[in-house]
Assembly symmetry: C2
Homo-oligomer: 176 residues x 2
């Protein structure tokens, strides 16, 4: 449902065609939204069938496929608000696939585990920097960026503690 919410929310701001919509999502929202192109086209079709948006063909010069311009309808606006309320109201639990590795971390010698997690750590830092750079960027909603920054900082903190405890294990193993 959050993908529909996204599409409706964007169409509420401007009429757009699918390609445009997808470009915007990829360029400006890829850090927080996952909607692949075929999915977007598919959902637009569904939303149009349901009467939440209208589809208007705009002929293009050259043999190009005509653009299909989508606009939100009053019913779509109502639906958008419904989805929005539902989304704001409910907390959806996150699961971290990366936790499975942590759960079985003892299966590896501490120094190897540390090396591997160090790689993960570097990727997380990179991600944090990339997100911090979006900050000025128009289009990307400020609160969401801040959310991701908060989140990533917490993740980094936690991983640092894990790494520290691994380092300690290594030490005490070295003594023995």
């Amino acid at each position: 449902m959050h993908r529909r919410l996204l599409l409706l929310g964007l169409l509420r701001q401007h009429k757009m065609h699918g390609y445009q919509l997808n470009e915007f999502i990829e360029r400006d929202l890829s850090f927080c939204a996952e909607v692949k192109r075929p999915t977007a086209y598919y959902l637009l079709e569904k939303l149009a069938e349901a009467g939440y948006i209208t589809e208007e063909e705009e002929e293009r010069r050259g043999g190009r496929p005509p653009r299909r311009i989508y606009r939100i309808t009053p019913r779509g606006e109502a639906y958008f608000l419904e989805l929005l309320r539902e989304n704001l109201r409910t907390y959806r639990r996150v699961t971290f696939p990366g936790d499975m590795g942590i759960a079985f971390i003892d299966a590896l010698p501490p120094h190897e585990a540390r090396e591997l997690l160090e790689e993960r750590y570097a990727q997380m830092r990179e991600m944090l920097e990339r997100i911090q750079q979006i900050s000025g960027h128009a289009g990307a909603p400020r609160l969401v960026i801040e959310h991701h920054i908060t989140h990533l900082k917490a993740e980094l903190n936690w991983l640092e503690e894990v790494l520290a405890s691994l380092a300690q294990e290594e030490e005490s193993a070295g003594e023995a």
Copy 2:
């Protein structure tokens, strides 16, 4: 892949049948792992086909279906380590469906948005408390619990800021 990692990781510790495996996951790991029963059965079948685990039927008194006891094989052990290394090494980005609502929060009057988010906030607190209570619990891996606690606290902090900024908007709207 992280589901396979989980199953192999558990079978590495004890031989088990599917029902037992599923019970353990639901009871002790539901806070961090999502594997539904049919999925578990399905994956066990696949892992057995691939030779990573062996299947042994144990007849049961009464008309009950025989238990299928699974044990990890040496190849399975190697595969487990492969998956484990891969899992530890790579950071997988998280997306929050709840961010979509935040992105369009201005579509609602601040007081309504605040009320809705207040509900979300309550659910998050509940979740945090539930996880803090697992802490003593055997079976659930300590680091993963701590991860979730860290995560949830960061989420709560961030939401508190959002709520505060909404409260401010309400105030300045009240003045006008």
